[in-house]
């Protein structure tokens, strides 16, 4: 017994010793680097005055180094498609940016697996590199939430292409911003479109009872009421079933002019197919970004004609076409095949590059100085920046999507953006 305990004690001691040695080595290494950096800046006197006045100091990019923009994204696992796709969109933004005062940009996409733990780990890894000045991310809301405190501490601004969870901008963070529109924003724009553009006054609202669909439907109902319209029926359905004709008949009884649905494509297909026979022949179907996609077209066929959908995919423009072409040339598939967020990935990185170029100062010593505090303010202060998906203007909480989603309508079996629809 005693012998055994002795053995385990010994093992523990050895382990502790190994860890101490490892940690000591690592700590020592960082310390020397920092000292070196400080020496250079001080000795040559290249550091501009802005750096001393900045709360977080300057990021120093020496000639030959790249200006790094970090990204925490799921690059492996179930959601790898999102991470890969969004970082590919960002990659093109980096290429488009080209050289800035002789420096180039680099996108560093680290795998956070979309999880909270992964998000925190990636954030710590990225802040350890002093040349990482901004973060285009993270991709998933959970990972983003876990990562925010680390960036907050170091004064590194974030501009997420896809973290849509509403509370993220309500936590008083100075560094977190996003170009993705939240469900609340989408619902508001949808209600306005229904009321103002389509001229609908009697609206029926349906949802699948899930957090996403119900939340969206409630926002639409509320906004629609505020605008002066009447919500004549509200029905929830159980997701995953093949028959919603009874619920639709109940909606038809209220005689609506339009039907808004918050939920996913599987249920939307069933609903749209059964609308006519349930007595909703002349009623416009209005879906959300969950119901948008090729699957909707295939499933609804003739019945889908005239149905509306919402998407992140921006309407066609020369810039978007150029992006689409570059994306397909480099990565093989047309954009949008992996996720609908790749355009946001581009916008996010491009807007960060724009903000960096606003604040960066080329020192006399040839180093590029980027005052971190000023960059945080510059990203939050983005105004009327034209991205692929529309105007980016950040409000005081960090919501930067000023255009809202793009609305699409089914015409001749294709999704056509409403601006181009005949």
């Amino acid at each position: 017994m005693l012998k055994k305990r002795n053995m385990s004690l010994l093992a523990l001691l050895i382990l502790a010793a190994i860890m101490l040695v490892a940690c000591g080595g690592a700590a020592g290494g960082t310390a020397t680097e920092e000292v070196e950096g400080g020496d250079q800046g001080g000795a040559e006197g290249g550091e501009p005055a802005e750096c001393a006045g900045d709360d977080f100091g300057c990021a120093v990019i020496e000639p030959g180094q790249t200006i790094k923009i970090g990204m925490g994204a799921p690059m492996t696992g179930d959601y790898a498609a999102f991470g890969v796709d969004i970082s590919q969109g960002g990659e093109i933004a980096v290429q488009d940016a080209g050289e800035f005062n002789g420096f180039t940009f680099e996108l560093v996409a680290e795998d956070d697996e979309g999880s909270g733990e992964g998000g925190a780990a990636v954030a710590n890894r990225l802040v350890a590199d002093p040349t990482v000045v901004a973060i285009a991310g993270h991709i998933f809301s959970g990972a983003t939430e876990a990562a925010i405190p680390t960036y907050e501490e170091r004064g590194i601004p974030m501009l997420s292409p896809s973290a849509t969870n509403p509370p993220l901008t309500q936590m008083g963070s100075k560094v977190f911003n996003r170009v993705a529109f939240t469900d609340a924003v989408q619902g508001k724009f949808a209600a306005e479109y229904l009321y103002n553009t389509l001229g609908i006054r009697r609206l029926a609202v349906m949802h699948d009872g899930e957090a996403y669909g119900q939340g969206l439907a409630e926002v639409v109902a509320e906004e629609f009421g505020t605008l002066g319209g009447e919500v004549v029926a509200t029905e929830a359905i159980t997701p995953g079933e093949s028959d919603y004709s009874a619920a639709l008949a109940a909606v038809a009884d209220a005689d609506p002019e339009g039907l808004y649905y918050g939920g996913y494509v599987a249920e939307a297909v069933v609903l749209v197919n059964q609308m006519d026979s349930a007595g909703l022949e002349d009623v416009a179907f209005f879906g959300c970004d969950g119901t948008f996609g090729a699957d909707f077209l295939e499933g609804t066929d003739q019945n889908g004609e005239g149905a509306y959908g919402t998407s992140l995919i921006p309407p066609s423009s020369p810039e978007k076409d150029a992006f689409d072409q570059a994306y397909e040339e480099q990565f093989g598939d047309p954009p949008g095949t992996l996720s609908p967020f790749t355009w946001n990935g581009y916008d996010s990185v491009a807007a960060l590059i724009y903000a960096i170029e606003q604040v960066a100062i080329l020192g006399d010593d040839g180093n590029l100085y980027i005052p971190r505090g000023a960059l945080v303010a510059a990203v939050r202060g983005l105004t009327d920046y034209q991205g692929l998906g529309g105007t980016i203007t950040c409000d005081e909480t960090g919501e930067c999507n000023a255009t809202g989603p793009t609305f699409y309508v089914v015409q001749d079996g294709e999704w056509v953006s409403v601006n181009e629809a005949g």
């Binding site: 929830a236 109940a250 699957d295 499933g299």
Partner: protein, 368 residues
């Protein structure tokens, strides 16, 4: 689920009287509440006549399909006293088979000039073939299901084949996902039998659509039910099935091949499920590997409602459940999402007052 599966069986004796009184009072309160809601909904005239008609048609269509699936549960329960939880998956196999038959027919072009395919050139033959092939494939699946998952457990306690059934259900669902992918598929109906269209009938000043596919489903269901009734009541196999249901040991002593009868019972129930699957696809268009689960549970409920082990009971239970689901929320003036709550509340109510189901007693008398 196991509870409700067992309780309606005539073998379970309900305990003490005080428990019975509580039950009755609870049931009465529920019935009174429902009656009050019903009265207030009908007197206020919240919904138009056309809406009631639409609910009734959709309830009847769904109910007819539930009934056909419920027959399979009831048949198997009748001879084996076990719930075949993989029955919904057999239905799914039928739906996919019908889909593939239509896809093949739609791929063969008869007249290149007009791009006329076999599907549209011979629509009636195509539909009949889809039903027959769907039923055959489901029948074969059910045969192997019984051989592999249930027969080795014939002597085991009742819970064991039940667990095996759930396992088989999960296996079949995943196998279908591997074979067909998780993507939803859409039935390509022949031109004469389009989805979601039908004869308009003017009721209450608005036109109510009586769908073609729904009508077809109801007719096919009725044919299948009559066919099954004749098979069970008038043929040698039917007599053997009834004998096995009565008493396996005695049946074996009378020279009946019990295993063979059980096997054939599974095949008949599989064929019914296959037909229901094809109807499902024809009527609802969307099929996916998990499609069997919900109708499976509902049909099981229908079978229990009608009195499990009882063939007319399954028919009545199916139609009753479909109608309650469609009309219930409107009658009680509550959200349509709660249709399942109403359906299962009806199950509870029926079981409180008639523990062996709506027609369960008839079976007992016959057996006695």
């Amino acid at each position: 689920m196991q509870q409700s599966a067992v309780s309606p069986s005539p073998r379970v004796r309900l305990p003490a009287n005080s428990y019975g009184i509580v039950r009755s009072v609870l049931g009465l309160v529920l019935i009174l509440f429902m009656a009050w809601r019903l009265y207030s909904m009908l007197t206020t005239g919240t919904f138009g006549v056309d809406t009631w008609a639409r609910w009734a048609t959709s309830g009847l269509t769904l109910g007819a399909m539930y009934a056909v699936v419920a027959l399979g549960y009831t048949l198997v329960y009748g001879v084996l006293f076990m719930i075949n939880f993989a029955h919904g998956e057999i239905m799914m196999i039928g739906a996919f088979t019908g889909y593939l038959v239509f896809e093949v027919f739609n791929g063969i072009v008869v007249n290149p000039a007009t791009e006329l395919t076999v599907l549209n050139a011979f629509p009636i033959v195509s539909v009949i073939l889809a039903f027959l092939i769907g039923m055959t494939v489901s029948m074969i699946s059910a045969f192997f299901l019984e051989r592999i998952a249930y027969r080795p457990l014939r002597g085991a306690p009742r819970l064991v084949p039940l667990i095996s059934a759930i396992g088989a259900s999960i296996f079949l669902q995943n196998a279908a996902q591997l074979m067909f992918g998780p993507k939803r598929r859409y039935y390509e109906n022949p031109g004469v039998l389009p989805h979601f269209q039908g004869w308009p009938v003017t009721i209450g000043g608005d036109s109510v659509v009586i769908s073609y596919t729904g009508t077809l489903s109801v007719i096919v269901s009725i044919i299948l039910m009559i066919g099954l009734y004749i098979l069970v009541q008038r043929t040698r196999l039917g007599r053997a099935m009834r004998a096995v249901a009565e008493d396996k040991k005695t049946a074996a002593l009378m020279g009946i091949d019990v295993d063979g009868v059980i096997s054939r019972t599974f095949m008949i129930s599989g064929a019914l499920a296959g037909a229901a699957g094809v109807m499902w696809g024809l009527h609802f268009k969307v099929i996916v590997h998990v499609l069997g689960f919900v109708p499976g549970i509902k049909a099981f409920t229908a079978a229990v409602l009608g009195g499990i082990g009882n063939i007319p009971g399954a028919m009545v239970g199916g139609i009753f459940l479909g109608m309650v689901e469609a009309l219930g929320p409107g009658l009680l003036g509550i959200d349509q999402q709660l249709q399942d709550v109403i359906a299962f509340s009806m199950l509870v109510l029926v079981l409180i007052f008639r523990p062996s189901g709506i027609l369960g007693q008839v079976l007992n008398e016959e057996k006695v």
